[in-house]
C-alpha cells in the first residue's frame, strides 16, 4: 500500500472514530430509512410469500412470476416510478414526499418487497409438511403452528431478511432520484459515496464504504454461525 492510500485510510478511520457529525449523520439516515422500509415491508411480504407457497388459486403462477421479475428491475427504474408517483403532478403528489426520507422509504419498500416475497415463498415451499401437521395435531392453534414452521425455517428466513436489507442499504439509483441527496436530510451511504468520489474526497467515501463492509461481514458471519448449527434432516 503506498503512502497516499495509507493516508486516506487513516483519514477515513479518523472520521469514523472521531464521530465526525457529517459522516455519522449520513450513516444514521441510511440505517433509519432502510430499517424503516424493511420493518414496514417484512410482515406483509412474508405473509404473501406464505400464501403463495401454500395456497392454490387461479393466477398464482402469474403473481409468482411477476414478483420474480420485479426483483430484477434496476433500482433507477423503480426510482423513476416512485419519482413520477410523488412528483407534484403525480397521483401521490399531495403527500409532498419527493426529496424526503418518507419518499426514500417508499422507494426502498418497493425494492425490498419482491425480494422478501420471492425468497420467503421459496423457503416456505421447501418446508417439511410434517412440521405443520405435527404442530397442529399436538394441539397448537394455527398461529402457533405458523410460528413453529417459521422457527424451523429460521436460517432461510433470516437469509431473506439480510438479502433484502443489503439490497436497500446499498442501492443508489432510487435514493438519488427520490431523495435528491440533500445533506443531513436524504444523503445516505451509497449516494454520499457516489458524490464524494466524484468530488475527489476519497477519505469520506472510504469511511462510509468501510461501514458497509463491516456490516456485510457481521451479518454474514452471524448467518454463517447460525447455518453451521443447522443440521440436515435424515428424513
Amino acid at each position: 500500500m503506498n503512502e497516499g492510500w495509507l493516508a486516506l485510510t487513516q483519514q477515513a478511520l479518523s472520521l469514523l472514530f472521531s464521530l465526525d457529525p457529517e459522516v455519522w449523520s449520513i450513516i444514521s439516515v441510511s440505517f433509519s430509512v432502510s430499517l424503516a422500509a424493511l420493518v414496514i415491508t417484512l410482515l406483509p411480504s412474508m405473509v404473501l410469500g406464505f400464501i403463495l407457497a401454500f395456497s392454490r388459486f387461479r393466477g398464482r403462477w402469474l403473481v409468482t412470476n411477476l414478483i420474480q421479475t420485479l426483483q430484477s428491475i434496476p433500482t433507477v427504474v423503480i426510482g423513476l416510478l416512485v419519482y413520477l408517483l410523488l412528483t407534484r403532478m403525480g397521483p401521490l403528489g399531495d403527500l409532498k414526499w419527493l426529496f424526503t426520507q418518507q419518499g426514500m422509504i417508499l422507494g426502498q419498500m418497493m425494492i425490498c418487497a419482491p425480494v422478501i416475497v420471492a425468497m420467503s415463498q421459496a423457503a416456505f415451499t421447501s418446508v417439511d409438511r410434517r412440521a405443520w401437521e405435527t404442530s397442529r395435531t399436538l394441539g397448537a392453534p394455527w398461529y402457533s403452528a405458523i410460528w413453529a414452521v417459521c422457527r424451523e425455517l429460521k436460517v432461510p428466513l433470516l437469509l431473506t431478511i439480510i438479502a433484502a436489507f443489503s439490497r436497500i442499504l446499498t442501492e443508489v439509483g432510487c435514493s438519488m432520484m427520490v431523495g435528491g441527496n440533500i445533506a443531513g436530510v436524504t444523503r445516505n451511504i451509497p449516494t454520499a459515496i457516489a458524490l464524494e468520489t466524484s468530488k475527489g474526497d476519497f477519505a469520506q467515501a472510504i469511511a462510509l464504504g468501510l461501514v458497509l463492509l463491516v456490516l456485510a461481514l457481521v451479518l454474514n458471519f452471524a448467518l454463517g454461525s447460525l447455518r453451521g448449527k443447522a443440521e440436515p434432516r435424515s428424513h
Binding site: 405435527t134 394441539g139 397448537a140 422457527r151
Partner: protein, 240 residues
C-alpha cells in the same frame, strides 16, 4: 365419551378413488388395528380423522369434546393426535420436543410436569435430553414422539406404522407406553400392514380392501386386558 365420527366418507385423488365408507366411529377406550396393503390409504384415512386433510365427500365430526373458542370452533384438528410413520421432530433439543405441546394443554402444569418426568423415564430418554433431536436414531425418534403424545394424555391417538423403524428394545418401551395409554382410556388406531406386537393389544380391526373400509371385532379380543396389566417379563417374552 370422546369420539370421531366420519359419515358418507369418500376420498379421491383426481380421478383415483382411494376408499369410501358409510360410517366410521373412532371412540375412546377402543384400540383399532387398521390394516391394508401399501397404498391402500391407511395414512390418508388417519389424516382425515385427525382433521389434517379434508375428504372429497362426507363429513368428519368430533363428539364429546369441550367447546373450543370461537376461532377454533369448527376444527377437528387437534382432537385426535396423529403420529407420522417417520415422526417429525422440531429443530431443538430432545427436551424442547418433549415439552413442545405443554403450552397448548389445558391440564394442570404440575400434573404435566410430573407426566413429563414419567415419560422421560418410560421412554429411557434421560441421557438424551440436552442432545439435538436431529441426532437421534429411528427408534429413539419414535420413542420421543410417543412419549410426547403420552405426556398430553390424548383422548384419541393414531399411530402410523409405529414399529417400522424400531429395534426390539424400542418396541418394548413403546408397547409399555401404548399399553399405559390404553389403560388410561385413550382410543387408538394403530396402522400396520402386518401383525406386530403392538397390534396384539388391538380389540377391533378396520380393513381397507378394494376401496372399501370394513370394520369388525378382533378374534383375540382378550389380548388387550392381558397386555395392559402386563409385567416387564411378559413384555420381554412378547418381543422374543
Amino acid at each position: 365419551m370422546a369420539k370421531i365420527i366420519a359419515q358418507d366418507l369418500e376420498m379421491r385423488f383426481d380421478d383415483k378413488h382411494l376408499f369410501s365408507a358409510q360410517e366410521l366411529i373412532f371412540p375412546q377406550k377402543q384400540v383399532i388395528h387398521l390394516q391394508g396393503d401399501n397404498g391402500s390409504g391407511k395414512t390418508t384415512l388417519m389424516k382425515l380423522l385427525a382433521g389434517l386433510i379434508k375428504p372429497s365427500h362426507g363429513q368428519v365430526q368430533a363428539v364429546g369434546y369441550s367447546l373450543a373458542p370461537w376461532w377454533r370452533s369448527n376444527a377437528i384438528v387437534g382432537k385426535a393426535l396423529y403420529l407420522h410413520q417417520h415422526p417429525y421432530l422440531f429443530d431443538g433439543s430432545v427436551l424442547y420436543n418433549l415439552t413442545y405441546p405443554l403450552a397448548f394443554s389445558s391440564e394442570d402444569k404440575a400434573k404435566l410436569s410430573a407426566r413429563t418426568e414419567q415419560a422421560i423415564e418410560m421412554a429411557q430418554l434421560s441421557h438424551l435430553l440436552g442432545q439435538s433431536a436431529s441426532s437421534l436414531s429411528g427408534g429413539e425418534r419414535q420413542r420421543l414422539a410417543i412419549a410426547r403424545a403420552w405426556i398430553v394424555e390424548p383422548k384419541l391417538l393414531m399411530l402410523d406404522e409405529p414399529t417400522s423403524n424400531m429395534d426390539k428394545h424400542s418396541q418394548r418401551l413403546v408397547l409399555q407406553m401404548v399399553s399405559d395409554l390404553k389403560q388410561q382410556g385413550t382410543g387408538m388406531i394403530i396402522s400396520s400392514h402386518q401383525s406386530c406386537m403392538l397390534t396384539q393389544i388391538c380389540d377391533h380391526a378396520w380393513l381397507i380392501d378394494n376401496n372399501k373400509i370394513s370394520t369388525n371385532d378382533m378374534v383375540h379380543a382378550a389380548a388387550p386386558t392381558l397386555a395392559v396389566h402386563i409385567n416387564p417379563n411378559m413384555l420381554n417374552s412378547m418381543v422374543k
